[in-house]
Symmetry: C2
Subunit: 317 residues, 2 copies
Amino acid sequence: MNYFVGIDIGGTNVEIGILNAQGDILGKESIKTESKKGAEDTFNRIWNKTKELAEKLKIKVEDIEAIGLGIPGPVVNNSVVKIAANFSWNNDFPAKDLMEKVTGKPVKVGNDVKVIALGETLFGAGKGYKNSITIPIGTGIAAGIIIDGKILEGAGGAAGEFGHVVVNKEGYKCGCGLTGCLETYCSATGIVREGRRRLELDKNNALYEVIGGDLEKLEAKHIFDLAKKGDKFSSEIVDFFCEKLAEGVGMLLNIINPEIIIFTGGVARAGEIITDGVKKYLPKYALGMTMENLIFTFGKLEEEAGIKGAAALVMNK
Amino acid sequence: MNYFVGIDIGGTNVEIGILNAQGDILGKESIKTESKKGAEDTFNRIWNKTKELAEKLKIKVEDIEAIGLGIPGPVVNNSVVKIAANFSWNNDFPAKDLMEKVTGKPVKVGNDVKVIALGETLFGAGKGYKNSITIPIGTGIAAGIIIDGKILEGAGGAAGEFGHVVVNKEGYKCGCGLTGCLETYCSATGIVREGRRRLELDKNNALYEVIGGDLEKLEAKHIFDLAKKGDKFSSEIVDFFCEKLAEGVGMLLNIINPEIIIFTGGVARAGEIITDGVKKYLPKYALGMTMENLIFTFGKLEEEAGIKGAAALVMNK
């Protein structure tokens, strides 16, 4: 028997899974990233936890064939992380080399969003579709683009940086340095900012009550939950969010013309209120023929998408 | 010896070329499309002209291995033209079947822009690059996206409809039905409209003189030529054009992250004044890492791109 390891390294936690050749997760573990201790320390702790997990599953370490690693930031040649912004590690971080040194196994590295897209495409909501776009919406927003079953990497690993298309050049400054990026509107951070902006002007509403008048407490979930109950004030914020998202999705449709769009991530848990809103505004931003047979759906794998997609980097899929 | 035919069908003219297996055009011919006479009539005239050309080149018709066809409109499965807007033919026009019936040869059909991109990539300015975007700017604007050496078709043949990304939802109505498409600014039609708009407000300038005060006479070339001579009024129009183009190109960079951008078509003949302007504004619209090793250049093949790209559809390239 041969086994594969899928690892999803985030800024805070690392998710580790051991999979069989069919892509089933046989067991999984989680550790803290604690990137400040240095990459070598984190990678050694990941490998120790993986070996522990293997032992628990009665899998011999020598039967682990290869390791796939998902990590935030643009990844070049399945090997180097160009900008390791979420970590205390340097740019041009040689993730593959280090992991191979630590484990003695063949390793491939992929950008976290692309890896999630691969997971959803091979094992989740995109199964059976050759041209999908997976859009995780959480703290930020990005797009994992799958063409003919393959991840679109881009020349420098930066394909799918969809959160940074500019939708309002007079808009908010974005963390990336640009102004008016889609992400400044269509993310948890974005919708919370818009909510706060409106709450500062209008305090006579259910949203203000729910957070007890403390704007610092506002979360995306408060807004979506009230909007689903029909609250007008919150519905207008969601509507604004959905129109901006439709503007971005329209660009993807006119440029890529995918078969299926898969929303995933924390904000996407709000569900059909998002796809309904996007569908309402999309005819303003997308050519009719790109919407004809288009499917909107949600990720199925939740946090397992990262593990499965990472493992898929090194499986023969 | 085996030979290939590349055919570029436009709304007005059809360009026909016979190529050897290396992709060299051995001879070419042109006929009027006259689509009103019906598709069968046009296709028969194309094939008669092709046979004439073969005879002139002392090539036996039986040595013609296959035929590639470039045509405007979204093409599905290298076979059917979904919307044949530039012709008097019906939608879902079975171009491949008809051409195979007329010629008895294997035929593949491609969208004209995608075919030009393929031509430039295999034989022209994009040679040696696996991830290129060719942007023809003429009456309209579109993008032929090449990923890993293959044309990005899209689920319904509509990938690369870059001219219809919305850059100003309060802007001009576009022929496609949407409002504020990139094409309403970044095309010959777009820059002429902007020029006329400004000339109506200000007649005391060199551009007004050049066209003898007749706004109907204004062409994109007048504006670019005067801008190149340093004329302030025209330079401002070009600057406006370039910023909008940079906005669109920025989207392509953040979504696709290509190695090389190739401008081609009538308007692109204006040359470096366009790439200089785009480069000036691009840092407002594209992530730094997408611009790092990016090359801007111009198409090399002119009208031969369509013939060579069409032939490439059926060659082993």
